[in-house]
């Protein structure tokens, strides 16, 4: 009895990803050529997925050399192959993978640069939404205000790093000045990434504003987000920060959270 199709496919998947060809080769016509034929498919799989990763992480490509990137991508693809056919959404685990990849130990900032590139990529394909005007909040009763939960533009991402990853990214993007001296001790950044008018942009926020917006972005109430911002900076201008959200067209909707039952 020949193997059922699902088993043939599982055997071929392992042969391509892990190089375990022992179970597959006997199933192939003209066995003496089987390894050569399989190598064409294996090359298609790894080369095309490496190309996808190069497109999503161009600054990482420039930070390490091309051969090293191909090696890291190969290891990543083996351990984290795509689960969906939409490859614009492939690579979510790449930053964490690099963080734990021993050959990258000399580049402690590389994972955060990859996180930035992942946010930039995600912002490209996030859904379109219309911003909310502040007048939409007029009907909220004063006693409900602390329980307001805002919905943010889905392209928005927040990333904090102990490294100057914005400057590292700038220097390593296509056409960037990769000879620029970057003082790694210059300190960290708190970045907000989003798509605006079709272009993906990011800006550096002060720590309190970052804490405020990140909390709101995670679906926390206005009260919780305010407390987080004030915890960072007791002088934080809440009114100004709130109106900035609308001035920058960040908010797309809101709801009032239930009163927590005691």
């Amino acid at each position: 009895m020949p193997l059922p199709l699902d088993e043939v496919q599982a055997v071929m998947r392992r042969a391509l990803l892990d190089g375990e060809t022992g179970a597959l080769v006997p199933l192939i016509e003209g066995r003496e050529l089987a390894e050569t034929q399989l190598a064409i498919y294996r090359n298609n799989v790894f080369a095309s997925l490496t190309e996808v990763l190069r497109g999503t992480f161009p600054a990482i490509c420039r930070l390490v050399d091309d051969r090293f990137f191909a090696y890291a991508a190969h290891e990543f693809i083996r351990r984290h192959p795509p689960q969906r056919p939409c490859l614009a959404e492939y690579g979510a685990e790449f930053a964490d993978f690099l963080a734990g990849f021993p050959p990258c130990r000399e580049l402690p900032y590389i994972a955060d640069v990859a996180r930035l590139e992942w946010f930039l990529n995600a912002a490209v394909t996030a859904g379109d939404t219309a911003p909310l005007t502040p007048s939409a909040l007029a009907a909220i009763a004063p006693e409900e205000a602390p329980r307001v939960v805002l919905r943010f533009d889905p392209s928005l991402g927040f990333l904090a790093s102990p490294w100057p990853i914005d400057r590292i990214w700038e220097a390593n993007r296509p056409g960037g000045d990769d000879g620029a001296a970057i003082e790694l001790a210059a300190g960290g950044v708190h970045l907000e990434i989003r798509r605006r008018d079709g272009a993906v942009v990011f800006q550096s926020l002060d720590r309190a504003t970052f804490a405020f917006r990140q909390a709101l972005g995670e679906g926390e109430t206005l009260e919780t987000a305010s407390a987080r911002a004030l915890g960072v900076n007791a002088e934080f201008d809440l009114t100004g920060a709130f109106s900035d959200l609308f001035r920058e067209a960040v908010v797309t909707g809101f709801e009032i959270a239930e009163v927590p039952s005691l």
């Binding site: 020949p2 043939v8 391509l16 199933l27 498919y41 192959p81 056919p85 939409c86």
Partner: protein, 284 residues
């Protein structure tokens, strides 16, 4: 193309990202454009640009990720997104491949070969039924380029395609370059292959370039879509047209992408070849 001597065959080109802006700005004279569905299945600016292109051109949606050959069944979320895209661009044709890419929840991003057995036929036919039902329309199934055969295959590839068309009402997308690559790599007869696909099922033809490589001392053809259509593939194209008549034809180029003008030139060459072939047949 001038009025009075219309080409008998409608020729399109595969539209790839680096050419999109130029196509939007210059509106070249081409009958239709084919795009890879998976490049537009996420939201965002790519989709907005496709909508602009849709204003001026008929679109053919070519899927590369549905994995119709997978024994585990189709990814319903992917099918749902494909359906949304079909609704958005009302394509003239929708096509996919006789291959698989998904196994064990992993997407391998290549058009992998099937063993051509009765079991596989039942699985692929069921998946095509589900896809056609979900999309509310017929899809065309393309013959893949193959680099190996399974020993337990019992059905020849063109007969497998013909059986799928009988069972599901799907059509065939005859990729003439793939026929040449597969037959050369696996020692099959191209003429026999082409003549075995039922003429009435062929809804589209693909033309593309391939390359010849030496691997472990063995010459293999690689379907890399990185060059002009090769002379023997033009020969096979003429053979198909002579047998089945005018069918929408696509010129694909994916790697080492040339300037748009070169690709449009290949499309004109295809239109001219088709015109000459069909006139020659008509003249007896």
């Amino acid at each position: 193309m001038t009025i009075g001597s219309p080409s008998p065959v409608s020729v399109g080109i595969g539209l790839r990202a680096p050419h999109i802006d130029e196509v939007i700005d210059s509106c070249p004279a081409i009958a239709w454009l084919e795009v890879h569905a998976e490049n537009y299945i996420s939201c965002g600016p790519a989709l907005r640009r496709l909508e602009r292109i849709r204003e001026n051109y008929a679109i053919s949606l070519h899927g590369v990720g549905l994995s119709l050959g997978t024994a585990e069944g189709l990814d319903s979320e992917h099918l749902r997104r494909l359906h949304a895209l079909v609704d958005l661009c009302a394509p003239m044709l929708v096509s996919e491949h006789l291959s698989w890419s998904m196994s064990g929840g992993v997407y391998l991003n290549d058009l992998l070969p099937l063993p051509y057995t009765e079991e596989a036929l039942a699985i692929v036919a069921r998946n095509i039924d589900i896809a056609q039902e979900a999309l509310g329309r017929q899809i065309l199934i393309e013959n893949p380029s193959r680099y190996l055969s399974f020993r337990h295959s019992s059905i020849a590839e063109p007969e497998f395609l013909a059986a799928l068309a009988r069972r599901t009402g799907c059509g065939s997308l005859c990729d003439v370059n793939n026929v040449y690559v597969t037959c050369t790599n696996l020692g099959l007869d191209t003429a026999h292959y082409l003549d075995a696909i039922p003429a009435e099922t062929i809804g589209e033809i693909h033309l593309a370039g391939h390359s010849r490589v030496l691997r472990d001392g063995v010459a293999m053809l690689i379907d890399d879509h990185a060059s002009r259509v090769a002379p023997p593939v033009w020969e096979l194209y003429r053979r198909v047209l002579a047998r089945i008549g005018a069918v929408p034809t696509l010129v694909e180029w994916d790697k080492a992408l040339p300037p748009l003008a070169v690709l449009l030139g290949e499309a004109r060459a295809a239109a001219l070849t088709a015109e000459q072939t069909i006139h020659a047949v008509a003249a007896g």
